[in-house]
Amino acid sequence: MVLQLKEVKKSFLEPDGSPLPILDIPWFELGPGEQMVLVGPSGCGKTTLLHVIAGISRPDSGHVKVNGWDITLMSEAESDRFRAETIGYVFQTFNLLPGFTALENVMLGMRFARGRVDRARAKQLLERVGLGHRLHHKPTALSVGEQQRVSVARALANRPSLILADEPTANVDAGHQQQIVDLLRQTCQEEKVALLLVTHNMDVARQFPRVDRLEDFNLVLKKPTKPNGAAAEA
């Protein structure tokens, strides 16, 4: 398995000091190269789950294994390095660094992973997402759709095993949503990367062979469902 979660629990503290449960996931798996969607309403903890998987946040208990490595047992520095090398992250708001060109934004992730930057691969990735002519443009000079394509290229830069995409179409107009989904699915397939995409957009979810739900705000992950979004329609 590329990703395994076991008995993962996380809660935040309320202002009065009492715990507010956010995640309670008894079991979750994602296979190599698998593509799936996790759906749920806004604020149900989808982003928190991705942060926990990426090692950005620590769970209160449980285990998160990526490629068999339990990141909950790693030190912060180790999990930073592991994240850079193993996990690609596509943000809802793209999160390109404004001072850097498209090419530099892609290379930035490489710098933090191994310290070595493969400029040729960064260019190749940008060409693959259709931005070969926009390499040296800064984010402010790119359209919204182009910015998200740069962020996809950046997520793939270090040949990760897993891509986590957090509402990648939420800030993109309807015309570009399908392009982004197609791009993510196609590039992940070509690079043989597992894709876990969270969204509240059912049109997006329906296109994936596997859809799981986080629901009811008690944030319990349901058992794996039938492919093609059957569960999502429930």
């Binding site: 950005i56 943000f91 930035l108 933090f112």
Partner: protein, 432 residues
């Protein structure tokens, strides 16, 4: 992609604030560099001027005044030595208590002060003045390095040799004749008597010493000029002793016996003529060192402290600039962390940003100060005789590099620590 480039991009991202912060650092460093350069030039110039002679012998009085007037042509002469005393001094053989007798002076050049031409000091001396080196291994040049003409001759008493800075400023060329005034500081119109003119026969190449801005005339001509009656020196009061005088004697000692040489100043001071001690003998380099380390050194120290304070204030400006930007940059820092940058890495980026701003501002400051020195150099040379150019770097300026890095690290620490503590999940959740 190095961390330096990441830091540089961050600086570019806030170009106006960065430029202003860097400029304040540049001005502070320019001030420090200017103080160091000017002090270095003054120090070198003073020490250079003091190297030509082992001793300056003059009438009793202030040793510093004697050296300043004789070697640097500053202030008034310490007094007069009657010519016969001078003759007696140079012919005397001093004897130590152990019986050793000093050899004759290697050179004992009389100099007479008193008079000027267009503000440049007039020095009566002998041609021997230009036959000795003005520094170890460096001789006056009349035929190369910009020198012109020749040395004056003993028999031609109305000949003059002019320093290059004085020649340029007073527009004196070979063959020109000029009439100096009796005493320095007297306006030309107040001195109605016509003196016999001196003729310029030589302009020596620049030496980087105060001699460059002096005018040297044959000592006999100098005396005869002072024979000329004037309101300051009524002819009826003139005596032979007051007519033929020297202000000081520039002495170079025989180097064969250093212990004997060390005792000579004391022996000269103890020497009595008519039962009276009439001389003082001082090492010009010792007096100059006292001056540099005393008055000038303290002034320089105060200036340096003020300049360093300006740099520190500029450093605090960098701190404020980066620290104020941390709120708006938290999101970017969180993105870098999410991409895999460690806490230490983002901390380093902020520190490097601070170092780049400091060093960049510092480099501009050094260029600025040397550029100004280069622009003002010709004017300074013309007025002081001190050779100064934009390329005169001081070794002490090298201290600026580690100094700025340390300062930048200190002022960059606070914002760097803020970057270190950034809560990634919270910052990512906030809108960019």
């Amino acid at each position: 992609m190095s961390l330096w480039l990441i830091a540089w991009r961050n600086i570019q991202q806030r170009s106006l604030a960065s430029a202003l912060t860097g400029l304040s650092m540049a001005l502070g460093v320019a001030l420090v560099a200017a103080v160091l350069v000017i002090h270095g030039v003054i120090d070198r110039s003073f020490r250079r001027g003091a190297q030509g002679y082992d001793l300056v012998v003059g009438p009793k009085g202030s040793p510093l005044q004697l050296v300043l007037n004789t070697v640097y042509y500053l202030g008034d002469p310490a007094g007069k030595i009657p010519h016969e005393h001078y003759v007696e001094l140079i012919s005397h053989r001093f004897q130590l208590p152990d019986g050793r007798v000093s050899p004759p002076f290697k050179a004992a050049i009389p100099v007479c002060m008193g008079g000027s031409y267009l503000g440049f000091p007039l020095v009566g001396t002998t041609p021997e003045f230009f036959e000795l080196s003005f520094m170890e291994g460096e001789h006056y040049q009349f035929t190369q390095w910009g020198g012109q003409g020749r040395n004056m001759e003993t028999r031609n008493i109305w000949e003059a040799v002019v320093g290059p800075a004085a020649a340029k400023a007073a527009n004196l060329k070979l063959g020109d004749q000029f009439q100096p005034r009796h005493t320095r500081g007297v306006e030309e119109e107040e001195c109605p008597e016509e003196h016999h003119p001196f003729t310029v026969v030589g302009i020596f190449a620049p030496t980087g010493t105060p001699n460059d801005r002096a005018i040297f005339v044959n000592i006999e001509g100098f005396w005869q000029m002072h024979e000329h009656p004037s309101k300051d020196t009524p002819s009826e009061e003139q005596t032979e002793a007051s007519r033929r005088f020297v202000s000081a004697v520039l002495v170079r000692l025989d180097e064969s016996d250093p212990t004997l040489n060390a005792a000579i100043p004391r022996l000269i001071e103890d020497y009595r003529i008519g039962g009276v001690q009439v001389f003082q003998a001082v090492h010009p380099s010792v007096e100059v060192t006292k001056l540099l380390e005393g008055i000038i050194g303290n002034v320089q120290l105060v200036l340096l402290i003020l300049a360093v304070l300006v740099v520190v204030v500029a450093g605090v400006g960098i701190l404020v600039s980066i620290y104020n930007s941390m709120n708006e940059r938290k999101h970017d820092i969180a993105v870098m962390r999410a991409l895999g940058a460690s806490r230490l890495t983002v901390m380093m980026v902020i520190l490097l940003e601070s170092i780049l701003l400091s060093l960049g501002g510092g480099a501009v400051g050094v260029l600025l100060s040397h550029g100004l020195v280069g622009l003002l150099g010709p004017i300074i040379t013309e007025h002081t005789g001190v050779q100064i150019s934009a390329l005169q770097f001081q070794v002490s300026e090298l201290v600026l590099i580690p100094g700025l890095v340390i300062l930048a690290s200190i002022v960059g620490y606070l914002p760097a620590a803020a970057a270190y503590r950034t809560d990634v999940a919270k910052a990512l959740a906030a809108s960019p």
